[in-house]
């Protein structure tokens, strides 16, 4: 990776140029929160669709925070490596319930 945009060599004047994107992300996060709450008040008939919409918006918000506030958009390879490994294990942990529900599904329905 190239040197990060907030490198040691950057002067305060040069750094000031980055402030705009932080404000833009802040506005986007507030707007996306309003959209999430607004959609929830629609009381969509399909709960699956409601969950999908809310999680997609949450993922976009999380992506903005990680990419801009946490500078992941321009980071070193070692951090990407750590996060890829973390993401794999995170998905594995999230996937575990599907196996459990599959094996014990009837028990939950009182059979």
């Amino acid at each position: 990776m190239a040197e990060t945009t907030h490198s040691h060599s950057e002067s305060p004047e040069e750094f000031k140029k980055h402030l705009g994107k932080y404000y833009a992300v802040f506005v986007a996060l507030i707007c996306l929160t309003a959209i999430t709450v607004g959609v929830s008040y629609l009381k969509l008939e399909s709960r699956g669709l409601a969950i999908a919409i809310a999680l997609v918006i949450a993922s976009v918000k999380a992506g903005l925070v990680a990419a801009v506030f946490m500078h992941l958009i321009d980071e070193k390879k070692v951090i990407y490596a750590v996060l890829i490994l973390t993401a794999l294990f995170f998905l594995l942990v999230l996937g575990l319930p599907s196996l459990t529900v599959y094996e014990h599904g009837p028990a939950f329905q009182g059979q």
């Binding site: 932080y22 802040f26 070193k76 575990l96």
Partner: protein, 209 residues
């Protein structure tokens, strides 16, 4: 030690200069490894939430909709408060990068203030539920609600402690080693944004769906 002294005055090497292997200062690498472990901590609880929820005949167990038993306006307000605290945190770090300690102190104090507001709002939410007799033992919804929001609240308290240190006694480092201090603020910021990021998923999961 001699090598560390050659780079800077810190007893721990590579706290300012990037480590030759990783390309980043050790402190930053450390905080990212810590955040990776945090992902697994919250991931395990999210996984438990999915298991409990998908296994329940109805969610929430006592009937109705989730949005009817939690306070959505207060949850939304808290989300806005936390998002705002994230940008004040970024601006406190940016102030260090731009060489202004007074501005750093202003934005960091705002971050701590907003974090405290979040906890106060959470206190009122919890109090209302306790007044109704809805403790974690009430049902599975309240069990997972209090576990996830409680653990998140502990992280908020941890962030307040670290940020208060940086605002007060810790800021003395600005006069002796401003770059190291700026890195500390960045690391505290990475943690704080992660706490915000967790809430971004907790809010729709526990309040809206």
């Amino acid at each position: 030690m001699a090598e560390a002294a050659a780079h800077h005055e810190s007893p721990i090497p590579y706290m300012v200069q990037p480590h030759p292997v990783t390309g980043i200062p050790n402190g930053k690498f450390g905080i990212w490894l810590f955040l990776a472990s945090e992902v697994m901590l919250f991931g395990a609880l999210f996984s438990s939430y999915v298991l409990i929820r998908t296994g329940a005949p109805h969610w929430p167990p006592e009937g109705g909709l989730t949005s009817e038993i939690v306070n959505v306006p207060l949850g939304t307000l808290n989300t806005a408060v936390l998002i705002t605290s994230s940008i004040t945190m970024v601006l406190s770090w940016a102030s260090c990068k731009m060489g202004s300690l007074p501005r750093f102190k202003l934005w960091m104090a705002a971050t701590i203030g907003l974090a405290s507001v979040f906890l106060v709002i959470k206190y009122f939410e919890y109090k209302h539920k306790f007044d109704l007799g809805h403790f974690p033992s009430h049902d599975n919804f309240y069990a997972i609600y209090f576990t996830l929001t409680g653990l998140h609240g502990l992280h908020i308290i941890g962030g307040i402690i670290v940020n208060t240190f940086l605002l007060t006694a810790g800021s003395k480092m600005w006069t002796t080693d401003p770059e190291h201090f700026t890195n500390r603020v960045e690391n505290a910021g990475l943690y704080w944004h992660f706490v915000d990021l967790v809430w971004i998923f907790l809010f729709p999961s526990l309040y809206l769906l």
